[in-house]
Amino acid sequence: MAVKIKTQYGTIDITNEVIATVVGGAATDNYGVVGMASKNQIRDNVNDILRRENYARGVVVRQEDNGVAIDVYIIVSYGTKISEVSRNVQSKVKYNLETMLGVTANSVNVVVQGVRVLAD
């Protein structure tokens, strides 16, 4: 399971781990995202914010004919406009995949796993 890019010199394989890290980085870059969450609510504690090395646990990459479909699980900050933050995540993830890896995301599905109330 990896994205293959053919060039005149051979092939480039990009593992899903790498894609997940790029996706996680793009998502957490967005204002209002306090962190990445695990996609597996039962096994992992829902409210745990993933560390960078575990971003893959909060990202699902599905291979499609001409690109990938991404699911990304995030925790947002209470009091932000969650719909707009999610929309920003979608466009940033898509943009970063294309500019950094040359991978086209056909869809980016954002799952808001939690809302963090930050101490005022």
Partner: protein, 565 residues
């Protein structure tokens, strides 16, 4: 002058002034985008977000500043758009929570409010990026706190906040390399700086009192729509319309050769009032806009010219439009189930909807078999709703959408989900890809098979775009000068030169390889047939075996679009 407290009056003026200032400067903020192709929207997003905040503040029924601030924050939250809008809403969320129970604000309150706003803004993000709006709010708030230690004058505090924010904005290029590379300050930071500037000017009484409130473009449009709605009523016999021409003009006051009156609102208005109804007149020092329904559009235009030169004129025959309005009105009742109409002779089973900018491109796509065109492109992406409307209006059994632009994929995907008929998207990123995709279309094939074969065609074409740089920048290893041309091949800048033709020739060179057979040149609004013919000649000189085609596209922004297959 010394002011020791801000009451609901001052606060209301501050907020409205800031909203107006962002609205006036939205285009400028948009232009600070860090990619030299003009398509930024930070200014638009911030302006719309604050407009929503300002509306909630205006409508709040209270005299306590704290409650007004809460209303402002609520409106910002509801109307937040884009990253910058979300951050702006957070700043005022912090501000309003800190001051929620205040009736008026002292200098210390104001400083505390900004400090709380900065704190809240920083909290809602995992890794705050310095060199952005966050830096601007933090530095401004810090300066406010420092000033409040020594004074109880709100003007002194607000002046300090404004100045520190402006200074911080100036340092953003030192904190974010990409800004320095392009030579701009951060767009979101610039937006916030405008807001604080407007607050300060308003408190100091430097904002002209808007005794006669002047609506902006969007509000003017809403007013016009409302006026039309009231006058149309949809039940009129076209023949019974009293004033048949919807006439809009925009006049640059005092310019041009025919000016023989100094502009005076009442004089100007009263003459027009006798010419028709639904009259709206809006002006500032430089421009006056008029909307009126009249039988004498010529008189309206001539009257405008007595005060200045014409920047824009639009005349619509409403008797002709009336029939369509009546049709529309028949459709509006939400409870009515759409009658199953016999498809008209020319209703296609499969609608192919292409999104393009420019009449020439529209014609070109139709010649390739596209059935419907939605106008849109680099700088004006159609909304999901526009695409859904086009799909549903086609009355076809199924639809294929060609976005022809990466930025429209999302809207198109959404549209496909909610459209009344099965719809697929063919992911053409450029006009060139869109045209090539049409070659893979088979009217007798299944929808998904068509999608697959059309998408397969996308990779067979190279897309070149020639456009002008709107500022000096360094990108993809190129030193690009404002006003020079760039050649972009499949999304990366490959060539840059001062001359349009040379840039276009070099772009083609960069696209050619041993397998190239056909070069298609589509010239836009900023080029002409002559230039296109020269380019065609030069391409033929490069390689006599190449087939070349030239089309008129009328597209904005890109003087040349080039495909190589």
């Amino acid at each position: 002058m010394k002011v020791t407290e801000i009451t609901n009056l001052e606060f209301g003026k501050m907020v409205q002034a800031a909203s107006q200032k962002l609205n006036q400067n939205a285009d400028f903020i948009n232009s600070l985008n860090v990619f030299p192709v003009p398509d930024g929207d930070t200014g638009t997003n911030m302006s719309l977000s604050l407009a929503s905040g300002a509306k909630y503040e205006r409508d709040a029924d209270t005299a306590a500043v704290g409650a007004l601030a809460v209303a402002l924050a609520k409106g910002l939250l509801m109307g937040a758009r884009g990253n910058s809008g979300v951050i702006l809403s957070q700043i005022f969320r912090g501000f309003s929570r800190k001051l929620a129970d205040k009736t008026t604000l002292t200098a210390q309150d104001l400083a505390d409010g900004f400090a709380a706003g900065a704190e809240t803004a920083y909290k809602a993000v995992m890794k705050p990026t310095e060199g952005t709006i966050l830096t601007v709010v933090r530095e401004g708030a810090q300066a406010g706190l420092n000033a409040a230690k020594d004074t109880d004058d709100v003007l002194v505090v607000m002046d300090a906040v404004r100045k520190a924010a402006a200074d911080a904005l100036a340092t953003t290029p030192d904190l974010l390399p990409v800004l320095k590379q392009v030579g701009v300050v951060d767009s979101g930071g610039q937006g916030l700086s405008f807001v604080l500037e407007a607050f300060d000017d308003s408190l100091n009484g430097r904002v002209a009192e808007n005794a006669d409130y002047k609506p902006d473009d969007a509000e003017m449009d809403e007013m016009i729509n409302a006026a039309h709605h009231q006058s149309a009523q949809g039940k009129l016999d076209p023949a019974s319309i009293k004033y048949g021409y919807c006439t809009e003009i925009m006049v640059r006051i005092g310019r041009g050769k025919q000016v023989d009156h100094k502009f005076d609102y009442d004089t100007f208005y009263n003459y027009l009032a006798d010419l028709g109804d639904s009259l709206l007149v809006v002006n500032d020092d430089e421009i006056v806009k008029v909307h009126v329904h009249t039988e004498h559009p010529g008189k309206v235009i001539a009257w405008g010219q007595e005060f200045g030169d014409l920047a824009k004129v639009k005349v619509d025959n409403m008797r002709m439009q009336q029939e369509t309005i009546m049709e529309k009105d028949d459709e509006t009742p939400a409870t009515a189930t759409p009658a199953v109409a016999e498809p008209a002779e020319d209703t296609p089973d499969t609608a192919i909807i292409a999104i393009v900018a420019g009449d020439g491109l529209a014609t070109l796509f139709k010649s390739l078999g596209v059935t419907h065109v939605v106008q849109g492109g680099q700088t004006m992406n159609p909304s999901t709703q526009d695409i859904v409307d086009a799909i549903n209006a086609s009355k076809a059994k199924r639809a294929i959408v060609l976005p022809n632009n990466k930025n429209i994929f999302l809207a198109a995907e959404q549209a496909a989900k909610v459209a009344d008929i099965p719809t697929v998207i063919v992911h053409a990123k450029t006009v060139s890809q869109g045209m090539t995709a049409m070659l893979g279309y088979n009217p007798d094939a299944e929808l998904t098979d068509n999608q697959a074969s059309m998408e397969d065609n996308l990779s067979t074409v190279k897309s070149g775009q020639v456009t002008h740089a709107i500022r000096d920048t360094q990108l993809d290893g190129f030193d690009i000068k404002e006003g020079n041309y760039m050649g972009i091949v499949d999304g990366t800048i490959q060539v840059t030169a001062a001359d349009l033709l040379e840039t276009a020739v070099d772009t083609v060179k960069a696209m050619l390889d041993d397998d190239s057979e056909i070069v298609t040149i589509i010239y836009g609004a900023d080029a002409n047939a002559d230039l296109a013919d020269q380019l065609q000649q030069r391409v033929t000189d490069l390689d006599g075996d190449l087939e070349t085609e030239v089309h008129e596209g009328d597209q904005p922004v890109y003087p040349f679009l080039i495909s190589v297959e």
